[in-house]
Amino acid sequence: MGQIVKKKYKIFICYGIILLAFLAFIVLLIKKPQAIVYHNVYAEDTSFSQEEVTFPLKEVVTVDIDNIQSLSLTIGDNTINNYSYQVSITDLDGNVYFVQDYDKYSSSSYYFPLNELKDLKENMLILEIDCADCKGIKANLGKATDKAYISGIEKTLQISINNFKTNKQYYWYVFMLLAVGFTLLPLARSEEI
């Protein structure tokens, strides 16, 4: 009797994994999916090769999701890290949600938790980078059809509005659990008494 239970537990594990996957799938179907907005600044412009950048650099981002949990900002080129600069996030009415000064050599990738955005009146934000000492920085604003070297920040300024519900990963986990469960099931069955 003990041996039968011992052998059968492997089958229970496999069915348990498969059941977990189905339950997770049902939960995901019921839950409303929340979009992730990804906004790649200037990447689609094709008209310029090199242009001098004027600070402050501003980008208006439309936020079209229900719950914003955080904002991540990547400044693509390390040139700006040689200067002291300021990053700020405001809405169209001038309400400030974030402002921070950065010394030179700071990281070029930032993560901002935005606890107060639930009070946002309009779904639009202004991301601004100001660099008083950054005179004469040239930036490649378009797709690089030549080999112009990027020395500014605009080409690779990527602003992604993150929501903590990364639904695509959940679905992937469901498929992975199903695959693992069904892979192990024949092995468990073949060891069944």
Binding site: K10, Q69, W172
Partner: protein
């Protein structure tokens, strides 16, 4: 009975006494010769400051050939200010010689301690910034250096462990356990002597941030965490006193700056942070000081890596000693002692490949439920972090069907493995194909989409780029400095010990002969998949990290190939070599030399720069 207990303790007592003696009589020899009147000399009055033409400060100290063990400067500064120190000291012949030292007035610390350990005549300090110097004194007292003493103690303890292993016959059966003990001891020293800085390893700030966030639904970003996440907040910590002050300072910075909400869900590509996160948060939950939490995170990473590798060494039926040496590569141990997920990739892949190799070299190995579970857990643990290694899972298909319970089971299992492999690969193939994968902007003018378009429109051109780059860098990526002896931003281990490590790796690769061998057909398949994976890694970096249209491939780092080293060596055939060295000597050498290399590197790259 009591005498047996005492006999076991005696070696530790002897090592402790030797440690104290070495610390006192070797490292404080010059200080012991100093007259008691010269133990502490206040030279604040001798420190005269003037402004130079550029608005900076030049400060000079005139001292009449006094022995300076440590110069202690107490100061206040609102910003980090770099200082250039020109000074006159004695050379080995007691003649005067000019020397230079660069340091920093760190805004978060109040003391700068410089270890000169020599007779000095004059110093000139040049810096630009607003720094208030409160006191300057020469400290010739005896300070027992905790970091150095722990290092000396553990160095001798490692030697004792190896001696006991040798005396007991150095059986290959005990190799995994001895490896585990040595790895934890040596890695433990490395973690203990490092300042609390998240900048020594590649992308360490990112890895620390992700480890800190793991499992939490409410993430409290404390000031000390933010300090560690800023680039170079504590560069130039170069003495024991500064390190200890930094730890105390971090403890005072526990105010919460921001609170972030999270689901607590662990994405698949963050599983490499599990050990790091558990270590840090367990210590935090216990209420331990921040510096201890930071170090415990690293120690758990080391523990996870060492445990998995020791299981791999225990389980493998081929190349036990080869695997032991690879597991003790200086780069691997260094990364295991940092906030990094490369050790997780190396350990997981190694264990999975060991199980595969066991099934292929030994036809009696039955493929059962437990085998596949362990294989899947190991491979998925590594491939979730870096999906580029996923194709290696397909080597499972080489296992003969006769090793399964039934043919039907074999087919279903293999189909399942293929589907799992495809799911893992979809995590990087789909974003690339659908143009949603972003390039790494640190590489310059990068674009995955444009680079892929270029490669597809001109495949011959890309093949030539790949061929040229690989021919130039192939050996370097596997046994070059970067693969064996590079400690990221801390630099390289010295030439002598690097060569010693290369020699022992080559020696064990050739001489670790075993009764069971991989058949030629399997070797060829392994080589195909390994080379395929290597090409994938190069291609991935060409797409993501190399400016569009470049004729070389940027961003490929030798640590990406460490997990492939073991299967690559196993594919080589040295059956003609006869090894008549006894296990007793062989196994001790195999564990002893890498241990010695790492210990010497800790002294050169950690003790001298950070802990003196």
């Amino acid at each position: 009975m009591r005498w047996n207990c005492i006999k076991k303790i005696i070696p530790f007592l002897i090592i402790l006494l030797l440690t104290l003696a070495i610390e006192l009589f070797i490292f404080h020899f010059d200080v012991l010769m100093i007259s008691p009147n010269d133990r502490v000399i206040d030279v604040t009055d001798n420190f005269s400051c003037n402004k130079n033409e550029m608005g900076g400060t030049i400060a000079t100290i005139d001292i009449d050939k006094i022995y300076v063990n440590k110069l202690v400067v107490t100061y206040q500064s609102e910003k980090n200010v770099e200082v250039d120190i020109q000074y006159v000291e004695d050379d080995y012949y007691h003649k005067e010689m000019d020397s230079e030292w660069k340091d920093t007035f760190n805004k978060n610390l109040t003391q700068m301690v410089i270890n000169f350990n020599n007779y000095m005549t004059k110093m000139e300090w040049t810096y630009t910034g607003d720094v208030t110097i409160e006191k300057v004194s020469i400290d010739n007292q005896i300070h027992f250096n905790i970091f150095r003493m722990v290092y000396i103690f553990m160095f001798m303890l490692v030697g004792y462990v190896l001696y006991r292993y040798y005396k007991s016959g150095a059986s290959t059966k005990h190799l995994p356990v001895i490896y585990l003990i040595l790895s934890l001891m040596i890695g433990g020293i490395m973690i203990f002597v490092q300042p609390n800085v998240a900048m020594y390893s590649w992308d360490e700030q990112i890895h620390f941030r992700e480890s800190y966030r793991l499992f939490k639904r409410e993430i409290k970003w404390e000031k000390n965490v933010q300090l560690l996440l800023e680039t170079f907040p504590f560069y130039d910590i170069n003495s024991m006193e500064e390190q200890l002050e930094q730890s105390r300072f971090l403890e005072t910075q526990s105010s919460v700056d921001e609170i972030e909400k999270s689901s607590g869900f662990v994405p698949y590509n963050k599983v490499g942070y599990i050990f790091l996160g558990i270590g840090f948060q367990f210590a935090d939950w216990l209420g331990l000081p921040f510096a201890v939490c930071f170090k415990l995170g690293k120690f758990m990473n080391l523990l996870g890596y060492s445990l998995i590798m020791s299981v791999a060494i225990w389980k493998t039926k081929v190349g036990k000693r080869i695997l032991a040496v690879i597991a003790l590569l200086p780069v691997s141990i260094f990364l295991a002692c940092q906030y990094a997920y490369d050790p997780a990739v190396t350990a997981g892949l190694t264990l999975g490949i060991v199980y595969l190799l066991n099934a292929l070299v030994d036809r009696d190995t039955g493929i059962d439920f437990k085998f596949v579970v362990i294989f899947l857990i190991a491979m998925l643990y590594a491939c979730f972090i870096k999906a580029i290694y996923a194709p290696l899972m397909l080597l499972f298909l080489l296992i003969p069907n006769s090793q399964f319970k039934t043919k039907k089971t074999a087919i279903y299992t293999k189909v399942g493995i293929v589907i799992i492999c495809m799911l893992v690969m979809s995590t990087f193939v789909l974003p690339t194909v659908t143009s949603t994968m972003g390039a790494d902007s640190r590489g310059g003018n990068t674009s995955v989409v444009e680079q892929l378009q270029l490669v597809l429109s001109n495949p011959v051109g890309y093949i030539l780029v790949l061929k040229d780059t690989m021919i130039k860098l192939f050996l370097d990526e596997f046994i070059g400095y970067g693969a064996i002896g590079m400690y990221a931003y801390l630099g390289y281990i010295s030439d002598n010990i690097y060569l010693l490590m290369v020699l022992i790796l080559l020696f064990v690769s050739i001489t670790d002969t075993q009764k069971k061998q991989l058949k030629l057909g399997y070797r060829l398949w392994f080589l195909v998949f390994l080379i395929g994976t290597i090409l994938l890694i190069w291609t991935a970096m060409y797409l993501a990290f190399t400016p569009v249209g470049e004729n070389t491939i940027n961003g490929v780092q030798p640590r990406y190939f460490i997990p492939l080293l073991f299967p690559l060596i196993i594919c080589l055939d040295f059956r003609g070599v006869r090894n008549s060295i006894s296990d007793k000597v062989y196994n001790t050498i195999v564990l002893g030399i890498p241990s010695l290399v790492i210990l010497i590197s800790i002294y050169q790259l950690f003790i001298i720069p950070f802990c003196w």
